[in-house]
Amino acid sequence: MSRWSYYVTGTALAILFLFPLVWSGWASVRTDTGFGAENYARLFSSANGIRAVHVLNSLIVSALTVTGTLIVATLAGYAFGRFRFPGRDVLFLLTLAILMVPYATILIALYVLLGWLGLQDSLVGLSLVLIVFQLPFSVFMMRNSFEAVPIELEESARVDGCSSFGTLVRIMLPAVRPGLVTVGLFAFLTSWSEFFAPLILLNSTGKFTAILAVVNMRTASHGSIDYAALEAGVVFMAVPCLVLFAFMQRSYVRGFTSGALKG
């Protein structure tokens, strides 16, 4: 492809892809009389709009999911990447099998199961489910990251008398940082924006996450939809993700290409 057609095609496509984002920002501050924050005010004050508690709920779910995913996936990745033990391959395959059974099909059962465990309509229950569905990607990613660390690093630590846990914390964690960033970022993006799981698992409006509350503005409205306030909601939900993404994009893409699909 010639230089010219490469740049023309690329630029035209980039504009197409960026346009919706720019437009929603513009539409969210556009008012009848010009520009202002009125749409955001309606987003937070209208009868079905979002409240501070919904934002707090989202933050709790995201924090629990990111922390839980990082801990479980790091330990499991270390186990799969560096140890041999009975049942290792079965457990690894079972974890990957989660990918083949998308959770939409078992959410009905999870709803009943969480009820039995006393976790119905609970942010903790929702976070546990979100962690499990992050595991295939995260465990796979962390296993590959641990496998990529030179074995000599680990052996020299063992010679120095480090326990396997000491080796993990002092030697391995710094070496698998790009993988951790990718896994954490992915867990945040998913838990912050996930819609279907909270829709099923959370019942009371007081427990709603922010995205449920924003969508509720659309679905609960009889008659006309307040599109401008909706776009304000879109921007409100998207900005944290875009900011994080901008900061971490480098290690995210690197972790993705080096870990996720190797092997």
């Binding site: 492809m1 490469y6 496509l13 980039a14 892809f17 919706p20 984002l21 929603s24 801990i71 479980v72 996936a73 499991a76 270390y78 186990a79 140890f83 033990f85 009975p86 457990l91 079972l94 974890t95 989660i98 083949m100 059974v101 998308p102 939409a104 099909t105 078992i106 009905i108 059962a109 999870l110 009943v112 199961l113 546990l128 962690i131 499990v132 595991l135 396997s164 993006l189 924006s193 819609f195 279907f196 829709l199 099923i200 924003v214 969508v215 659309r218 679905t219 006309s224 939809i225 599109y227 776009e231 879109v234 939900m237 998207a238 993700c241 875009l242 994080l244 290409t257 996720a260 699909l261």
Partner: protein, 273 residues
């Protein structure tokens, strides 16, 4: 060595517990539920195979299945062509390529439900700069939304496959006088087969499970014409309060997805054999 096996097993324990409790148990439970009349409130009662025989003459379900399959074929074809095109466009290191990759991938940072709301406004007649009208604006808007949101993500995966092909293979082919099309057909596509299988499987399973986009863009309408399979499951469970019936449909869908996944596994295994 013995001790290392114990440590390894200990490190894997949290994952094993979570996978067992929140994946294996619900998987068995959904099958168990599908054999019962299981109201949202109240005692379940064994009624097999009623939930499955009901699947056969569920009018909304068959129209939803037909709609979901058509949607899946359409999305998979379009999304694959667009994502592969983008990957080919940005595969080589050139000035500006990083910007293009980021621009195409950026929509992935916006949650899918938020993206659906974004397109609801973008394509609306009230405030949209590009109002969508025509025969089936509902399906059209879902297609545009999915292309916008997922093309960059699939591009990135295809890109990792493209870049894993050694440069010398192309060099050798060039020396032998292969045309660009021949190289694409004979080198790129065969060597990318596992990546292509992965991407296609994700597209197919993702579209078979479509929910957010139709729930938000069209609410399943007009006249249930854009009601997807997962929307029917939701409706059975939380509108008709019949969890058994919802579980029955889920199991049928699960089997369907297992078939898709095993086809992919077969393709992958053929490569490594």
């Amino acid at each position: 060595m013995r001790r290392r096996a114990v440590s390894g097993a200990l490190y894997a324990t949290p994952a094993a517990v979570l996978v067992g409790l929140f994946f294996v148990v619900p998987l068995l439970l959904v099958v168990w539920m599908s054999l019962h009349r299981w109201p949202l409130l109240g005692k379940p009662r064994f009624n097999a195979p009623d939930n499955y025989t009901a699947v056969a003459d569920h009018a909304l379900l068959s129209s939803a299945a037909w709609f979901t399959v058509r949607y899946t074929v359409l999305i998979t074809l379009l999304l694959f062509v667009v994502a592969f095109g983008l990957a080919l466009l940005v595969q080589n290191r050139r000035p500006g390529v990083g910007f293009f990759r980021t621009a195409f991938f950026l929509p992935m940072a916006v949650g899918f439900a938020s993206a659906s709301l974004l397109f609801l406004g973008l394509l609306s007649e009230e405030i949209g700069p590009v109002p969508l009208t025509g025969d089936s604006p509902a399906l059209g808007s879902a297609v545009l939304l999915v292309l916008w949101r997922f093309a960059g993500f699939n591009m990135l995966i295809l890109l990792t496959g493209l870049q894993a092909i050694p440069v010398d293979v192309y060099e050798a082919a060039r020396i032998d006088g292969a045309t660009r099309w021949q190289m694409f057909r004979r080198i790129t596509v065969p060597l990318m087969r596992p990546t292509i299988a992965l991407v296609l499987t994700m597209m197919i399973t993702g579209s078979l499970l479509a929910f957010d986009q139709f729930w938000i863009l069209t609410r399943g309408g007009p006249d249930n014409s854009t009601t997807s399979l997962v929307m029917v499951i939701y409706r059975e469970a939380f509108v008709r309060l019949d969890l058994g019936s919802a579980a029955g449909i889920s199991v049928v869908l699960l089997v369907l997805l297992a078939v898709v996944s095993s086809v992919q596994l077969a393709v992958l295994r053929r490569r490594s054999a």
